[in-house]
């Protein structure tokens, strides 16, 4: 019962919470290396070129840096309300900034950094963890069956001209069209929820912006240029970095627009 009197500031920044964060990190690195090891072994059985495996590693690492910095900014955003350790743990596993903020808001409505209690903190931690686990549970119980009954059937038609590959292409195109829509629609309106000290205040407004569409188009055009340099000018080293560079140019354009007062 003595522990019951722990101050929330001590719990938020407790060393053991950081230790859990370190453990989660190690778990993910070990799991990733385990699967990568098996994939690499398999690549040798399939006589895949070492060059391709190297390309997969380099392009994936270089591509992941910028979005990961974006995810870390999510940790900073939440830190005003929940400290550093819990957001670090939450964003290292299944979850996302908007989801975590929504979970915190729904679990303890009306609570802010100033009046947060240990009970609120533990309630938020449980709510965040439970409600996102559905995707993992569906994967655990149904993915194997779904793969053999649906995906394989779609992909393994024996005719010379098969529709199978177009099926996957359609999902890719759907994905990209939807995110074009995400950028384009913001010219006409998007909801902004006010965040103060890492939690929603409940105030909402509808804003408009052209910036994401400009960013989308500039990244698209940059990629076109890099693709030309790789394919036509034979600058092969650029291949693994072209996506990161194109993103960087798009993101820089957002900063420049911001400097010019366009947000």
């Amino acid at each position: 019962m003595i522990l019951y009197t722990l101050a929330i500031s001590d719990v938020k920044e407790a060393w053991w919470l950081y230790a859990i964060g370190a453990f989660v990190t190690l778990f993910i690195i070990s799991g990733s290396l385990f699967f990568a090891y098996h994939a690499n072994k398999r690549s040798k059985e399939l006589n895949m070129s070492r060059e391709n495996i190297k390309k997969a590693v380099i392009s994936s690492v270089s591509f992941s840096v910028l979005p990961s910095i974006g995810i870390f900014i999510g940790v900073i955003t939440m830190s005003g309300f929940l400290g550093i350790a819990l957001p670090w743990i939450r964003l290292s596993v299944l979850g996302a900034l908007h989801y975590e903020l929504m979970a915190a808001d729904l679990a303890v409505e009306g609570v802010s950094a100033a009046n947060l209690t240990v009970e609120n903190f533990v309630t938020i931690a449980f709510t965040m963890t439970i409600a996102i686990v559905w995707g993992s549970l569906f994967t655990l119980f149904f993915f194997k069956k779904y793969q053999s009954k649906v995906i394989d059937k779609a992909a393994t038609k024996k005719e010379t001209r098969s529709f199978g590959p177009f099926l996957f292409q359609a999902v890719f195109i759907g994905l990209i069209s939807a995110y074009f829509g995400d950028a384009f629609s913001r010219m006409f309106g998007y909801k902004v929820k006010e965040i103060i000290d890492g939690s929603y205040t409940g105030n909402e407004s509808i804003e408009t912006t052209m910036v994401p569409l400009i960013v989308f188009v500039i990244s698209f055009l940059s990629m076109m240029l890099f693709d030309y340099l790789v394919e036509k000018k034979n600058i092969k080293w650029l291949e693994n970095f072209q996506l990161s560079f194109a993103m960087l140019i798009g993101m820089t354009s957002a900063v420049l627009l911001g400097m010019g007062g366009i947000f």
Binding site: F23, I28, A39, K55, S64, V108, F172, A178, G250
Partner: protein, 219 residues
């Protein structure tokens, strides 16, 4: 597909998934045990029910949409490590494109697994580094100057990736783009608020158009 390899990966994947779920629950359970303070059950259940209205069907749609693109091992890995749409799925799309492998082939299984594994490692290392270097990094990353860059990182990502997919498939793209533009004009907050539903609508439209073009031997 080599059934033995795939079956093994399902077995390891499921074990990893169960371990992952336990690891996810470590934080709340240990906070409860160490502080001696239980969660407020009523608030917790109300919060979980409210969130699950969105995230239960969302979880199912995500598993059904992304798993064909990711392959066996990468699906298990990605559904523990998270950040599917903003990182893992585009990362695999990029690697698949660069390595010129086809979805649902043994070669692509290798490429996507390696891609998700190294992407996950990169993310957790950057997060850990960020936590260690938080004090010097916080003012830089929270500066007003850089804020727009990270607010629109997703648009930069899909804009760049978009070119690769739009390049060879322009006949398939016109119809979903027209629909998405119309939806954006008439229900903008729905389009940017419920992206997963828009992905589904756009994918179904692309599929129908592709089937028509395929039957007419136009693609």
């Amino acid at each position: 597909m080599n059934d033995q390899y795939r079956n093994n990966m399902h077995k390891y994947g499921r074990i990893f998934m169960v371990m992952g779920i336990i690891v996810m629950f470590l934080a709340p359970i240990l906070i409860w045990i160490i502080t001696g303070v239980a969660p407020n059950w009523a608030q917790m259940i109300a919060g979980v029910v409210a969130l699950s209205i969105i995230y239960l069907p969302g979880g199912l749609i995500e598993m059904m949409t992304y798993s064909p693109l990711l392959g066996t091992s990468a699906t298990y890995l990605a559904f523990v490590t998270g950040n599917l749409i903003n990182l893992k799925v585009p990362c695999v799309m990029n690697a698949t494109e660069i390595c010129k492998t086809e979805i649902n082939t043994p070669e692509n299984e290798v490429v996507s697994t390696i891609s998700v594994a190294f992407s996950s490692i990169t993310t957790v290392l950057i997060l850990s580094l960020g936590v260690i270097l938080l004090i010097p990094l916080k003012p830089v990353l929270q500066s007003e100057l850089l804020a727009p860059a990270f607010s629109w990182v997703i648009s930069a990502l899909f804009g760049a990736l978009g070119y690769k997919y739009f390049k060879g498939n322009w006949k398939m793209i016109i119809a979903p783009m027209i629909i998405v533009i119309l939806l954006s004009i008439f229900i903008p907050t729905f389009v940017n608020g419920q992206v997963i539903i828009i992905i589904l609508i756009a994918a179904i439209i692309t599929l129908i158009v592709s089937k028509i073009l395929f039957n007419k031997e136009m693609i």
